[in-house]
């Protein structure tokens, strides 16, 4: 009995230690984001509390000098268009592959399956040339096209889900004179709502966080998304950790809010996305 109690204590200690390891780096940056330039200079250390806990001056700086507002705007445009496109493309592909028997069906499926094994980072050298030849380089369309065109995971999620929708629904609609497009639009797509929610959340978070693609394809400062705009803080604010910290916290807060409200979807979505 006492041995059990000891294990229990050790288990809780390990959990508390892990919590500290996760939260301390974030907490330190949060505290720093509320400090003034003078407080930063007095060498009181990263964990000292800020003198004025409501000093949001650094956050104002990130918007005024750090172009964070236009960054959030660009990110929002990319998010909406790319996610909308991904949902359409993923659901259409899943519908076509699952509900039709046609020649080369196995080939098409294999094309999608194998593409999922190719890590995107490796092919950018050549993808860059293709994007460039379409004249998409340094425009919002480059990341939008790439996010839409290279997302195999959402096709998987839709495929799994389409399978669970009984084909008798399609047949009933067909008897009523509906054609394939009507069936997709009126029956399949509405019933895919849970899969759509999963794709929107998973795709939304990964798109919001992506750095590599916007960094490579949108070098203009006007086209900064949150990742690249935050990355540019490194230059002008090099030594101003209070501003950099405010920028980092500003980027993290939306993720935290989404996570707190949509926890269950997020766990399911990322589990399904990774195990495809």
């Amino acid at each position: 009995m006492t041995r059990r109690a000891v294990t229990r204590v050790l288990v809780y200690l390990s959990l508390i230690a892990a919590t500290a390891v996760v939260l301390l780096p974030l907490a330190a940056v949060f505290l720093t984001s509320l400090k003034s330039e003078r407080e930063m200079a007095d060498g009181s250390g990263a964990l000292a509390l800020p003198g004025d806990p409501f000093n949001f001056g650094n956050y104002v700086t990130t918007f005024q000098d750090g172009r964070m507002l236009s960054a959030f705007g660009n990110t929002a445009v990319i998010l909406v268009v790319a996610i909308g496109g991904t949902v359409l493309i993923g659901s259409m592909t899943a519908y076509a592959i699952d509900r039709f028997r046609f020649r080369f069906r196995a080939w098409v499926l294999a094309l999608f399956l194998i593409a999922a094994l190719v890590p995107g980072v490796t092919t950018q050298v050549a993808t860059f040339q293709i994007v460039n030849s379409f004249g998409l380089f340094d425009s919002l369309w480059a990341p939008i096209a790439l996010y839409m065109g290279t997302d195999i995971v959402s096709i998987y999620i839709f495929l799994q889900f389409v399978r669970s929708i009984p084909t008798s629904l399609d047949e009933a609609a067909r008897l009523d004179g509906a054609n394939a497009f009507t069936i997709y639009r009126k029956i399949i797509f509405p019933l895919l709502k849970p899969a759509t929610a999963t794709v929107v959340i998973v795709k939304g978070i990964t798109t919001y966080n992506d750095f590599y693609i916007p960094f490579l394809y949108m070098p203009s400062e006007d086209l900064g998304v949150i990742s690249t705009s935050l990355f540019r803080f490194k230059g002008p604010f090099g030594a101003h950790w209070e501003t950099i910290s405010a920028g980092a916290i500003l980027v993290i807060v939306p993720t935290l809010v989404v996570f707190l409200f949509l926890q269950r979807f997020i766990y399911n979505g990322f589990t399904r996305g990774a195990t495809k």
């Binding site: 390990s14 094309l111 065109g149 589990t271």
Partner: protein, 316 residues
């Protein structure tokens, strides 16, 4: 006159055509039905080919040339790029950096397994701990990079914590290659532990509860339960995690690029490839490097599929 014979001929032709399969739909409708799936697949397949398969094909082609990515001229160099890649030690050295991340992913998997096991039992504040462990996975990579630049910097979070417990250190954590790579690999554990943990937790929780009860009745302790119930139950997820870790360790980019830019011996294979292609305009050489990485990742995946045939993959 001619009109009627024509229609008659068409009718005859149609009837002979339809004779073997009388239930078939009329021709245009049949064509239309055959084309329907392709209409749905038109956009997805175009995107797939343009942005996944065409780049791979081009990349392989570039890798045998000395193209600089801009000029219209390019010369065929045969396997020259590959020879350069394997013979110039500084180009191949970056693979050793992956070793740090590989070692880190072992730590990461063990820790994730531990926390998943612990939190699958009845623990107070379970959802809180689960959320805290998973949240770093959702954070923007650039923000993580900055959080940990501050963490490791002189007088930053780590030094402050250490001085709280009485350890004074003036060590530059990102100053030497060993220390910097270890620190960066630790950041990668911090970032990705949550995903492994949630995958394991999901697998453990899908094991029916009666198994534990039965085991408990038979006098099994927690360790026995882990070995004989949990471990076999999570095998598919575990093997998936291993391959994700290996290919992940080989293609590390964000954290070292954001934090050190590849300085002090922290350059990884992908950073080097990006620099070759976009800073030094060596598209040919960079393509060869990317082809090598792609082949390694595919080989690792293939080996894993052979070793642990995953019965959960039943997509076809």
């Amino acid at each position: 006159m001619t009109g009627t014979t024509e229609t008659a001929a068409v009718k005859a032709a149609a009837s002979t055509d339809a004779a073997p399969a009388p239930a078939r739909a009329p021709r245009p409708a049949r064509l239309w039905r055959g084309a329907t799936p392709w209409l749905f697949l038109l956009a997805p397949l175009t995107l797939l080919i343009v942005f996944t398969y065409a780049p791979i094909a081009n990349m392989v082609a570039y890798s045998f040339t000395d193209w600089d990515g801009v000029s219209p001229e390019l010369r065929w160099t045969g396997a020259g790029n590959y020879a350069e890649l394997f013979t110039r030690p500084e180009l191949f050295e970056v693979f050793w950096v992956s070793g740090y991340y590989l070692a880190a992913s072992v730590v990461q998997i063990v820790a994730a397994l531990y926390f998943a096991t612990v939190l699958s039992f009845n623990v107070r504040f379970r959802n809180f701990f689960k959320g805290v462990l998973f949240f770093p996975y959702l954070i923007n990579g650039v923000a993580i990079g900055f959080v940990f630049l501050y963490f490791f910097q002189d007088g930053g979070t780590l030094d402050s914590v250490l001085s709280l417990v009485g350890v004074e250190t003036d060590r530059a954590w990102l100053g030497t290659p060993e220390s910097a790579n270890t620190s960066l690999a630790a950041v990668s554990v911090w970032r990705y532990l949550g995903l492994n943990f949630v995958l394991f937790l999901g697998a453990i929780q899908s094991i029916p509860g009666e198994l534990y009860e039965a085991a408990e009745l038979d006098g099994a302790n927690r360790w026995d339960q882990f070995r004989h119930i949990i471990a076999p139950g999570i095998k598919p997820v575990l093997s998936l995690t291993v391959i994700l870790s290996v290919s992940g360790s080989l293609s590390v980019f964000e954290i070292p690029y954001i934090m050190t830019g590849g300085a002090t011996g922290t350059e990884t294979f992908v950073i080097q490839t990006v620099k070759l292609a976009f800073q030094f305009n060596k598209t040919g050489l960079a393509s060869a490097a990317a082809v090598v990485l792609l082949l390694i990742v595919l080989a690792v995946t293939w080996v894993q599929r052979r070793l642990a045939p995953d019965d959960k993959v039943d997509l076809v």
